[in-house]
Symmetry: C2
Subunit: 240 residues, 2 copies
DNA sequence: TCACGATACTGACAGTATCATGTACTGTCA
DNA sequence: TGACAGTACATGATACTGTCAGTATCGTGA
């Protein structure tokens, strides 16, 4: 309908607008560079070091990201986009993952797309962490504390939201759904951190990625069991 | 015969040892004061403010705790001790919790002490967070990052270890047990953070504690389901 | 008119060094 | 036995260093 630009009183100055696409490109470029630097230097790099290693100056980063937290959040959004992409794949092809290897045994009902998506997400998450612990830590580490509480970093919140959308949690009130998502996110986080902390002696690289996958599947299995029963329905016949 | 004090080359100098008990008392006193200040000022108080509000000077804290992290860890250990105490109660009296209300009905085997302990721990944890989010955040927030990875703070590690001891996880390899504990800890953490972040409008205080209890029970229920099946044994009879 | 890059600055904060003070203990000498 | 000098340690205060996030300013260039 209204594709007119009329309601905008001052028409955009070409001297201003010409930067718009450039800005976007530049931003991505910076982000890429930051990821590289963080990967090399660890998640605690100072802004000065980032600027220096990038070959540019600190002001640029502050102009583009406002804040150190803004930068971390930006990297976090990138990470989320990676996860979201894999998730989208899982939406598209419910049981086509290459390595399931047990798909032949059970009945067709085992395919459970929701479960498949949960697993895909956690796999993506774990691969991310395995590939570059530093970048993962950098992105995840924007745990700004408010005046009194400790807010989860926006990365975690974002992933939790993805989770909320991906796994179907019918039979749970909305608050419960949010809690479950946050908890599941925390579970994954906890496992990842423990796993990352525990592999100093072990060689990283490809072998790490395989292990990450196993870890992810295990986590997904655990979390899946969590879900799918309504609430207090486990009843007395649980044992034998 | 030999009432000589000879065997001790240098007998402990009273001028040194006389401080030992004083130091301990003082440490506890400082810790108490810190908890109070943190409760008032939030988890991000500067060391200067802590010293000032405590009526003493910064150097004292550095002498006693070495580090800001040391201080946070100390508060964390205090918090852990609170949890551990409740856990010990649960060990002692398996089904004697005041509100279970179903203890009379079933056979003794329904009491599942492991599950009871899990619940007791999570309740203690949640109560802690509900009572003073700031102190909780302060204690939990000692997330030192190593050179590259992000280690979970020692508070979380400690609670995970408690969890590992409290819940029986037979049928899981040791690595898996550690992962599960870390994950469960993370689950609780995630839920707590979400819950704390989401109650700005809601009044705190006693009502908060009741809600905290409900939350804890819910979490315990979820986590319990996670456990107790060996690995891939969830099988077909899961439903009805 | 806007982005860019550089330099230099501010302010906050963790952590340290130093000093003067107080006090219970120890060994020695009267 | 008691007084006294000296010791070992905690205390609190002040002032310092170093690091780092964030800002202000300037000249350049399209």
């Amino acid at each position: 309908m209204n594709r007119v630009t009329a309601p905008r009183p001052q028409l955009p100055d070409g001297r201003s607008t010409r930067w718009n696409k450039h800005r976007e490109e530049r931003r991505l470029e910076l982000l890429r560079a930051v990821r590289h630097v963080v990967h090399e230097e660890g998640p605690e790099v100072s802004m000065d070091t980032i600027a220096q290693q990038t070959g540019t100056s600190k002001t640029v980063f502050y102009r583009y990201f406002g804040d150190r937290n803004g930068l971390q959040d930006a990297v976090g959004e990138w990470a989320m986009s990676v996860i979201a992409r894999k998730l989208a794949d899982a939406y598209r092809a419910p049981g086509t993952e290459e390595d399931t290897a047990e798909s032949g045994t059970g009945p067709a009902t085992t395919a459970e797309p929701s479960r498949e998506r949960l697993r895909a997400m956690i796999r993506a998450y774990a691969e991310l962490g395995a590939r570059s612990p530093a970048v993962y830590a950098f992105a995840a580490r924007s745990d700004v504390v408010g005046p009194h509480q400790l807010r989860p970093g926006s990365f975690y919140e974002g992933v939790a939201e993805l989770l909320l959308g991906a796994v179907d949690l019918d039979g749970l009130d909305p608050a419960g759904q949010r809690q479950w998502a946050a908890g599941a996110m925390g579970f994954v986080r906890g496992c990842m951190d423990e796993w990352l902390a525990g592999r100093d002696a072990a060689g990283g690289g490809t072998r790490g990625e395989h292990e990450a996958r196993q870890l992810a599947d295990r986590i997904a299995g655990w979390l899946w069991r969590t879900r799918n029963v309504t609430e207090e329905a486990h009843g007395p016949e649980e044992h034998r």
